[in-house]
Symmetry: C2
Subunit: 226 residues, 2 copies
DNA sequence: AACCGAGTTTGATCACGGTCAAAGCGCGCC
DNA sequence: GGCGCGCTTTGACCGTGATCAAACTCGGTT
């Protein structure tokens, strides 16, 4: 068996979760671990779309570029998330590490064959893709209809759920500029909204990346406001 | 076999395309045709998520509602598109007909069983969902980063590809207000942008719904502008 | 410990798109 | 054919968030 499947940090949450030992053994032969430094890319927009992967640790972003050259982050990837685009020759997005990260990488065509050979894998990937689609559409609502204040609050709620499920303090994996790319805002607007949340006692900012949610309820309300 | 599978208008483009005769026969026992009048809904947000369907004819929209009550259209559905959310108890979106439409409807749980029993169906649905995700993410870029003028031009290009692949004139399936819901704009802004495109000779508006693309190239350029 | 640079904050101003209001027009209806 | 409703257009004004510019701060490096 692939070195480490048995001690994989996301064994029961990643797309491999429903596989039995034999299926896992077959799949693990195709994959290998890969470490990424903050800023490194796995997939380049327009490039040959060569890999799929599971996120083992770290946070990554999936980006699209407008014809005019502006960046829009279309998804954030956290541990146990699946990354890649099976069944497409080239990728329409780029994937970059926002923090140091570790992946379990599969060559795309081999992974596609594994999908065909292993029905639980195919079904799990379908369910995940449907979830991703729901999330993507939910985020469209945010981009199209929410104010800057509600956008920033929504992102903080979202990240806190992933990174500090118990509530409380955590480190932001994104710079202000990266948050702006997610929210369809610019860097100054993000900064102003964060400053305002801090001034109002909803959050507490410590240094560049430290944040604590002092009043999650108020933050939730702001995330839902027009 | 289900009345009409053999003369189905989207037999070779819908999610059933890769099925052989036996598989198609099994699936067709579960489905039945349903006509919708413009404005009728199939799935209600938060409702019991009871059905999946293929679009046979017409145009539908998939909508999300902000907590504040504003509408955002997150997808448009054209003939041969798949509609519904397998594997979820309740739906997070509502689906409404923008024109009179005809569907091939399946009870959700039976369709899920069919997915499990029929691997080509599962694979085709996976491929489609991945395509939908790409489209959704592409649209996020539009919502987050494009100007009002570029948004309206993009929507026209998109609809023309679907409704008048040869180019030329067609009828808009959406009112100005519905276009606004798709683009994250308001109705007046949509109207002004259309008027401007017409004044500049890029399009020609005839009545409320008629439109002709006079200069597709210029329209494409405007769709790509910042 | 001081320096340096990237990232962040703050401020002033501007413009795009939203809001409010009213007139116009297409289209189905009687 | 004329009426009336609902969608659309146009106009005036306003506000949010973008842009431009400059000061500041954190954090890593020598």
């Amino acid at each position: 068996m692939h070195r480490g499947c048995e001690d994989c940090a996301v064994r029961d949450r990643a797309v491999c979760a429903p596989l039995d030992d034999a299926e896992l053994a077959a799949l693990s032969k195709l994959g290998r671990r890969r470490r990424l430094r903050r800023g490194e890319s796995v997939v380049f927009e327009g490039d040959d779309n060569a890999v799929c992967a599971n996120v083992l640790s770290g946070v990554l972003r999936v980006n699209a570029t407008t014809p005019a050259g502006r960046e829009q982050t279309v998804a954030l990837l956290y541990p146990a998330d699946f990354l890649g685009r099976p069944y497409a020759r080239s990728s329409t997005h780029s994937v970059t590490a926002l923090t140091d990260a570790e992946l379990c990488v599969f060559p795309r065509t081999l992974f596609e064959r594994a999908i065909g050979d292993c029905s639980p894998l195919e079904n799990q990937l379908l369910r995940r893709t449907l979830d991703d689609l729901d999330r993507s559409r939910h985020w469209m609502m945010l981009l199209g209809r929410k104010s800057a204040g509600a956008k920033v609050a929504s992102l903080l709620v979202d990240m806190a759920e992933r990174l500090a499920p118990g509530g409380g303090a955590f480190d932001l994996p994104l710079t202000r500029g990266e948050m702006a790319d997610v929210l369809g805002l610019n860097i100054e607007t993000v900064s102003r909204q964060l400053t305002r949340l801090a001034r109002d006692g909803v959050i507490l900012l410590r240094g560049r990346r430290g944040i604590a949610l002092l009043d999650s309820h108020a933050l939730g309300e702001r995330a839902e406001a027009a």
